[in-house]
Symmetry: C2
Subunit: 209 residues, 2 copies
DNA sequence: AGCCGACAGTAACAGTGTTATCAATGCTCT
DNA sequence: AGAGCATTGATAACACTGTTACTGTCGGCT
């Protein structure tokens, strides 16, 4: 055919790794295709033939971030106390976010121009599964109210996500031990969804007039 | 002195309003100084003499967004049921965010290149005050555990922020009635922080073995 | 050997934020 | 009144971005 391909899988990996490193310690805003190409000793053409455009590159980073995130969450092995597992999943959630703030940001925050594809959103959505499973096991063990495990899981997910997000963006009040507040919140939410005597459903109490 | 000033307060307002409108319906990423200046029939110089640079302009938008947000929250008048007030504050929180997603994003999410000044962060931090007050009243009425009202408030704040943030970024699972889950979560968190018989402190329960 | 087409680097294009230049302006001083 | 001049603001230049067109290079096939 023609000359040897150099825009191959190896180059693709080098580009992704370099991009991830840049995003990791300077944020997604500091990612420039020209600099990236120069750093990896190739041309901008490589990015376009391998990823289509910048959004495609970020898409791959997004995918990678989700993969790492999911790995961290599935490392939390189910125990015989599902309610405690929920708390431990929450702690793993924060561990990941604090360790990789910018990668976390690509998936759950910083969103600049980039809009993830529905496919990526689906992948990201799947990271809630370990939590849903833990809640379902908790329900089976009588630790949580009956009803949709997804609802209870999303509730815990939201609490975790919210505090982590406030912490990373600097919007959390200073002078508080955020780690401690975080754990207390997880316990409070879990406690709020605990099955209580004479309470079976999961519907909210009627609004006050 | 010299020629008549046209880069005055009136122009400043027109620029802010136009910028807010652009951000409101096309996001902060679509804000260009050149377009903004052209739209308002002036030159880019105006932005620099009035705001310093683009960050200064966004800083003003940030301030405006916080002002609107605080107005929405203080519109929730304290009732004789502080725990219900906490829930109502949470609902007002979401109402604002859903009504003004991009302005909300400037303060609590989208963060592109822009880093808010400590002063702005302080102002944003003050928006939690109505919630802290409600929690404190609830503690006085025996509805919440004793301990730091800030901690309990931040806990509720985080839950609200998390779910709203997931919703706006499209990371919430589809097929669920988010509004309903949101309210249920608020009730669950409030319930989790409720004072219970024989429980005075606010420390987390000991981890199960 | 010669050729043709896939390939990849260079350079051009349209846009951005920012800054330097410079003409227009109206007060102040002679 | 008229000249001078500091202040003001629009224009144009600069350095950067993502993206695309171009063009020279290369290697297998005829």
């Amino acid at each position: 055919m023609a000359r040897l391909k150099t825009h191959d899988e190896a180059l693709r990996l080098r580009l992704i790794n370099r991009a991830a490193a840049t995003v990791f310690d300077r944020g997604a805003g500091a990612l420039s295709l020209r600099r990236l190409a120069a750093d990896v000793k190739t041309s901008t053409t490589a990015v376009y033939s391998l990823f289509g455009n910048k959004a495609g590159l970020i898409d791959s980073l997004y995918q990678e971030a989700v993969r790492l995130f999911l790995a961290r969450l599935t490392a939390v092995r189910p125990s015989d106390d599902p309610a405690a597992d929920v708390v431990r999943l929450g702690i793993a959630y924060r561990d990941y976010a604090v360790a990789n703030p910018h990668l976390y940001g690509i998936v759950f925050a910083d969103r600049l121009d980039y809009e993830p594809t529905p496919e990526r959103l689906n992948e990201a959505g799947s990271t809630i599964q370990p939590l849903v499973d833990a809640v379902a096991r908790g329900q089976a063990a009588g630790q949580f109210k009956d009803g949709s495990a997804e609802v209870i899981a999303l509730s815990c997910w939201g609490a975790a996500h919210g505090l982590v997000s406030l912490e990373l963006s600097g919007n959390a009040p200073t002078g508080l031990d955020i780690g401690a507040v975080y754990e207390e919140t997880l316990h409070a939410v879990v406690s709020g969804w605990r099955a209580r005597a004479g309470d079976g459903g999961h519907s909210a109490p009627p609004p006050r007039p």
